[in-house]
């Protein structure tokens, strides 16, 4: 992960240019559902916002702490099933269930990271994959709890907040995108704090980090917990948004899709996975005409990016900007 996308160590907390960037993002979120008024595109906007949450959560673990976690699909599923079951079986209010789902996914992630503290690289990848397989199989087989492959139907949407009704796709988008925005801001704050440098130190060289007195095990638990909590939040929204919950939505291939978003966007940057999530959500929709072959873009994009542009979209943009600047300097 070393050279891929080292972050700018600028730690100045809230520079004017960043404030402008956040403001622009907020304006974009506000305008998007007004531009795309059809329910088809509004649905896709919500999927984009969910995928952004999943991708930045994974990137926190993979891109910053350098731990390849292939279990993101499981934390997504844990968040979705936990919130749904709490609401539908126990009558817990949605927002309480939401918090519980986020906490539960975070705890599950921290528990999985017990392996991460002992294993590295490939072994961790397989251990997390194993965790995802077990979680999926439990969702399929624990029929008395999850109704197995038949699924849970008529999952309610988040309840109305005063005059705001979340049955309106536009309001639901504002809610999900708002939480994605907030998650991004929180992760951004973490990354720009000394915690971010601690995590990248572990990513670059664990032995040296430990020799500086960094408790690598504890920070990995932290990174996994935060990354999975983000997936849990996405899961809690997913259930009410789609309305039906089946285990297949959380099969291990979902982890690969999220991985593709992070890598294509640019791991080790926070904005990269956002771009990757949006691109890889919209592109297959645009390519609907070519049928099943459109799903090949995930794998193709992932492979090509690793081979030719390991820093992803962010690296491509930086290269293009540098080239523009150079030609601007030499031209006059």
């Amino acid at each position: 992960m070393s050279s891929a996308g080292a972050t700018d160590p600028r730690r100045a907390s809230f520079t004017p240019s960043r404030r402008v960037a956040y403001l622009l993002a907020a304006v974009a979120i506000a305008l998007l559902p007004l531009i795309f008024t059809g329910s088809y595109w509004r649905t896709n906007l919500i999927v984009c916002a969910l995928n952004v949450m999943l991708a930045i959560g994974l990137d926190f673990v993979l891109g910053y702490a350098g731990q390849l976690n292939l279990g993101q699909s499981a934390f997504y599923g844990i968040g979705a099933y936990a919130s749904t079951l709490l609401v539908m079986r126990l009558g817990v209010p949605f927002w309480l269930a939401f918090i519980a789902a986020v906490a539960l996914a975070g705890i599950a992630g921290a528990a999985l990271s017990v392996f991460a503290t002992r294993l590295r690289g490939h072994y961790l990848a397989i251990a997390s994959l194993g965790f995802a397989v077990i979680t999926y199989q439990i969702l399929v087989n624990w029929i008395s709890l999850t109704q197995g492959p038949l699924g849970i139907y008529a999952v309610p949407r988040p309840p109305t907040l005063g005059p705001i009704d979340f049955h309106d796709q536009r309001n639901l988008f504002y809610l999900v995108a708002g939480v994605a925005f907030l998650s991004y801001w929180l992760l951004d704050q973490l990354i720009r704090s000394p915690i971010g440098e601690t995590l990248t130190a572990i990513r670059e060289d664990e032995v040296s980090a430990a020799s500086l007195g960094i408790d690598c095990a504890a920070w990995k638990v932290f990174a996994f917990g935060v990354g999975s909590a983000a997936a849990g939040a996405a899961g809690a929204f997913y259930a009410g948004f789609v309305g039906t919950l089946v285990p297949d939505a959380f099969f291990i291939t979902e982890s690969f899709t999220i991985l593709a978003m992070v890598v294509v966007g640019g791991m080790g940057t926070l904005i990269g996975p956002v771009a990757g999530a949006i691109l890889l959500t919209i592109l297959p929709e645009v390519l609907r005409d070519i049928g099943d072959l459109r799903l090949v873009v995930y794998g193709l994009a992932l492979t090509l990016v690793v081979l030719f542009m390991p820093g992803g979209i962010v690296q491509a943009v930086r290269l293009a900007a540098a080239r523009l600047r150079r030609s601007a300097e030499t031209a006059p």
Binding site: R118, H122, I126, F131, I134
Partner: protein
Amino acid sequence: MTIVLQQVINGVVLGSLYVLVALGLTLVYGVLVQINFAHADVVTLGAFSAYFFIHGAGGGYVASIAVAFAVGAALGWLMNAAIFAPLRERGNELLPLIATIGVSVMLENAMLAVFGPIPYAFDSPLSNDVIRFAGTFITLQNVLIIVVSVATIALLYAFMKFTFLGKALRAVSQDRETAGLVGINPDQVVMMTFVIASALAGMAGAMLGPVLVLTPFAGTSVIVKAFAIVIIGGFGNVEGTILAGLLVGLIESFTTQYLEPGMIDIVVFALLLLTLALRPTGLIAERREENV
């Protein structure tokens, strides 16, 4: 008692196929310290090429295993040349793994577009001939699987032990740079390892075809077990892989008999996580450094 014996036979048959798949992962890990996720799709493509050789070209079942072997070998060459060889120079540990996930997702969706999601009925003509033995039923297909697997594993073993190329493979797997110093070309050895590993996977695919639900995603269910097997057996360790493969085959047949089929993956992966937590070097420890 008969039931137990029957399940032992079923377990060994299945286990020996898992061993063929897992040995490929272990061999590649040995020389390259890399995991190939797309190994799953070599299994699937092996099964499909055998299927179309029989149903499209009218070939025989035994010959179709050889076809799958050749298809696997070609895929192995291609994947090494296109993915692993270019990435080796970068020296990054995770990038090749991520790239093979990309290749796997790409191949699966390409197969989905070509073959469709509906399972293919891959019947082996040998499945209908049954031998009765001490109250148990053994199909000729099972006999064939055991004979081919044992012969292949024995040949591979002899190859590794006695031939120059086999010794070169083990040398590279022990220490790549030193192997280079004594005149072994590591790149050629890595290429050869990929070809062998994928040929085994393709061949296993042809024999797994009648057992699996043959869809473009068939290999995934096999490969996650193969991953568990190589870790339980100790990555890079051939004997450990054989032992763990048979163990997982037996777990699968006995779980089906005494618990329920849905529990198979849960039991196997619980064992995997337990191994990782308690004895991360695997049943037979060989490598202590890299990952644990």
